[in-house]
Amino acid sequence: MLLLLIAPLSAGAADPVTVGVLAPRGQEQALAEWGPTMAHLRRSLPDHHFELRPLALEELEAAVADAQVDFVITSPGQYVLLGAPHELSWLATLRSPLTGSSREARGSVLLVRADSPFLHPADLRGRPVGAVHPRGFGGYLLLVPKLRELGIEPEAAYRLRFLGYPIDRLLYRLQEGAVDAVIAPACLLEQMSAEGLVVRERFRSLLPDIALDGCLSNTPAYPNWSFAALPHVPEQLTRQVTLALLAQTEGGRSVWGAAISPAQIDMLYHDLRLHPLQPSLRAQIGQALQRYWPYVMLALLLAVIGLLHYLWLQRLALRRSRQLAAAQLRLREREQELAEAQRWSLLGELAAGLAHELNQPLAAIRHYAEGCALRLQQQDPAHALLPILQRIDQEAARGAAVIQKTRQWLQAQPPRLETLDIAALLRDLTEMQRPQLARQGIELRLELPATPLPGRGYRLGLEQVLVNLIHNSAQAYQARGKTGRIVVSAEARGGAIVIRVRDAAGGFSPERLREPFAPFRSTRAGGLGMGLLICQRLMQAQGGRLELANADGGAEVSLSLPTGEHREQGIRHRSSG
């Protein structure tokens, strides 16, 4: 601040002018390197006392920020990091001693020991890799884009060690084996080799080499070091210094050239997102959020809607699968219920059949015993055999009573009749039977009219009958080693609902047609012949009928039930009588 005020006033005197210089290789190195330039300036501008101040990276930044220096000599990386925020005026750029160009001077190289096994940057994953500084332009920053091109994010892939200044440390550490590779400024190796500090042949580059002033380099060259003035320096002094620099020669060659555009470096920094004028990512996001707030809200809303939609679908899927499971369970329960009903029917029928077969002879016994008693009584009312005949009669009656009790115990309660939607019942039932039949190669077809079919009956009983009939048909196919079709149809006819089950499996035997419901007359091996009898009983119990016929090379069983009450319009109810 003081300088800012006194500089114009003291322009004529031998006032001090401070030149800050980035000293990557240490103070001495810097003083030695920039000594000729400083001497030249002192000679050219005797009114000013030029003082060189070697500074590390952070020190230089701080010095510029606080205006503690008037001029700076710095690496190309600093052009932008220091230049733009502090409005530095770039006066001259160092010319490369070999090419004489100010433009192509700086590069970066990834070095490993010549005897190390590494052949590719990727081989260094997880290995210690040395560099000077995360913002060291000549080294680290220049090489990062190269590595990224290869898919390597050095900060993640490598165990980076930032060794700081002096940069000579890089090669020493690499040589010692403290690190497996270093990211070094181009020409450092050659320079140190020339100075006898290291042996160049002990190192090699891991990336394709781009020859740069005879140095190993893995990156395109970036402009060389430059000389800049801080904004507080009077314009006159700036001009004088510029002229002096451009006039400096060494070995007949100009040391400094015109200041070059830092555009190329700007680009690099942009790529690295390190540009000082480039807002940080977080700031960028913040700005974007502010600017596009409605869109962001919309996007968020859509995302939330999407999420809700997804959850909703999940819920539906879950509910659907639960419904399926429940339907499966219901189906199994229905099948069990039917099987149970069938078992009871069979048992009841067996008991009835047995009762009949036993009651007939018991009736005959009783009649004969009683007849005999009557005749004996006419001959001799005190005949000794009379009480015996009475006992025969009593014993027969006792046997009959046992049968009667068993019958009563097994007898089902008369079913409660209700109005059934026959079409729905048939749909459910065929659905239930279809998979099992399909396994036997039998197609089960349902033919229904469009009109409603309200029948009066007993659901379980009717289902039981239908299952019996369908199974009979299926077994008839099986017995003939055939497959085919079973057709279940229904229609409203004359105050009744008529359901037909037909097949093409040969039909009933003449004997069966003559006496359809005689028990113990199965045509099937192992069958009791109870099926049709049970069906007939069940139909009778609901006030219905069952009839057998043969048609089209198969059996046709017709069931009829009284028409039930129906709330829908459609069938005309015809009263009987």
Partner: protein, 201 residues
């Protein structure tokens, strides 16, 4: 009425039961006629006679209840007893509705069967009387019917002649004819026959 003059028809497919039943019923003094199935019975029996039919419910071919239904259709005067070795409740209900009074469970004793037969005979007798009455009523002409109806309601010949716009003499002739056709000896009997006939119709 002597038991010998009526026939008990036994319809049962089981020959030994049939024979045993005939054996005991004959001891009780009935004339028994056996039938092996319903169809033969229906073909061979005169349904308009005094008599009783004992039907086995569960028979091959025509079931007992089907035979009974057919008898009802024919207007049979036979008294019906249903016998079953099963004790089917549903069939029992059907049979009762169709007019069979007794529905009996096999094996039944002869004594119980006799009670049922006598009750069935009583029904048969009434039905037969009714049947005969109806047959007699059926013989009347339209004009005789009109006159009989008015006579039964207590109208005099003159009143009837006025109502039907005929002469008293014509009414007297018709009245004599219808009395003869109905077998009525007196006015009181005519009234009784007529009322019975009306009640039945």
């Amino acid at each position: 009425m002597s038991k010998e003059s009526v026939t008990v028809h036994l319809v049962d497919d089981d020959a030994s039961v049939r024979e045993a039943c005939r054996f005991v019923l004959e001891d009780y003094g009935y004339a028994v006629r056996c039938w092996p199935d319903g169809a033969q019975f229906l073909a061979g029996v005169d349904p308009h006679t005094l008599g009783v039919v004992i039907l086995d419910l569960r028979m091959p071919g025509l079931y007992g209840d089907a035979v009974q239904a057919r008898l009802e259709e024919l207007g049979s005067t036979l008294g019906v007893i249903m016998l079953t070795a099963h004790g089917d409740v549903d069939s029992a209900v059907t049979a009762m509705k169709q007019g069979a009074v007794d529905f009996l469970q096999k094996p039944i004793s002869g004594r119980e069967l006799v009670v049922a037969i006598d009750a069935a005979l009583e029904r048969s007798r009434k039905r037969l009387a009714q049947h005969r009455l109806q047959r007699r009523l059926a013989r009347l002409t339209q004009r005789e019917r009109e006159i009989a109806e008015r006579v039964a309601l207590g109208a005099t010949n003159r009143e009837i002649a006025e109502q039907l716009h005929v002469s008293v003499r014509t009414v007297e002739v018709h009245r004599a004819n219808l009395m003869r056709k109905l077998g009525a000896d007196s006015l009181a009997e005519l009234i009784r026959i007529w009322q019975q006939g009306q009640a039945e119709a």
